[in-house]
Amino acid sequence: MSLDYSLSLLSGIFLLQPLISFGLVPSSSQSMTRHPAGALGYGLTGGLMILGLGSSAWLLHQLLLEPLRLKFMELPVLLLAMWVWQRLIGRIFSRFRPIIDCLPLYFLNLAVLGSGLLLIHSAPDGIAQALLRCTGMALGYILSTILMAFFRERAEPKTTSRPLQGWPAFLLAGSLFWLGWQAIASLFKG
């Protein structure tokens, strides 16, 4: 049983997190991962939003939308839940500046919305596994964002060619991280 739980957490971190594993890249992620200091607040805020929206999306889907056959309402309900979680996190962390500063970037964020949708469609067996998978996705997102910022801070200033800076550097770094994540995932997959 504990093996199933561990696998849920690990698959959340390395196989199901939206940014690297699925390429669900929000427009803000490129500018926010230039420096580790900015990426820390951005990643933490995103992680909290993924945890909140992912868990509530799964519960809403299993307890409300699926039994009442309201699956066509899935997207508007998730958008509403994202807005609620953004307000809630703003209230809870009102004194924590790194999170408050990054919160407007998560008003409509496709990595967060994508996590909720992926969690619903990956459909784990029970609530404990769903929550662990969601926690894994949030941890994976935080880890990817911060590691990407460290990588870019070291590698990008050395590339003098302008065409490589910005998005290309972000995407090429992301592709290397994808390879790394897949290599780690192959240790426990199957």
């Binding site: 390429g23 427009s27 066509f72 958008l79 065409p163």
Partner: protein
Amino acid sequence: MRLPSESKQQLFIKNLWPENALLYSGAGIFLAVAGTQSWDQAFFLGSVCLGLIIANSLASHLCGDLLRYRIPLWALSLGTAIMLAAVDAAFAHKIARLPEHTRTVMYLLAACPAVFSRARSFSHGTSTGRALFDSAGQGTGILMVMLLVSLFRELLGTGKMAGSQLFILPPWPLASSVFGGMVLTALAIMLFRMIGRNRP
């Protein structure tokens, strides 16, 4: 930057190539990375994106013109979500034949800045023709890049080109994964910048 002196055609061309939303500013970049696994998927998602950009721009223009009211972002997003639910219901069989997670990527258009940017920044304060051509240029530009990336991804990853088999063995199977999406999108942006730099 849009000037009042620019004609409708100039707006269309500007959004299509020199200021292509995806290559120039990275708006909707996830579509090129996650939505170009096959030519069919890219065409479907790009067309939906084009339709949404035009619909949002025209709605924003009509509200601005008739009611002197600027539609808030949350209302545009909610309207987009409803339109996407309708598209999902109408094309359920088609979506089922497309690569895995196509529905998820399509749903994410409700949170994609590229879908709302023209409606929010330009369409509400201009003429119907200019709003239409400007939004059509942006949507077509995104669709064009998606088709280009998907063509190479499919060719390298599966050996097919627009559905027909060209190579018996795929030259680079990794191209059909997210890795290939990221690398080929990065190459497309680099190429766009290099061509732009050499332009007189």
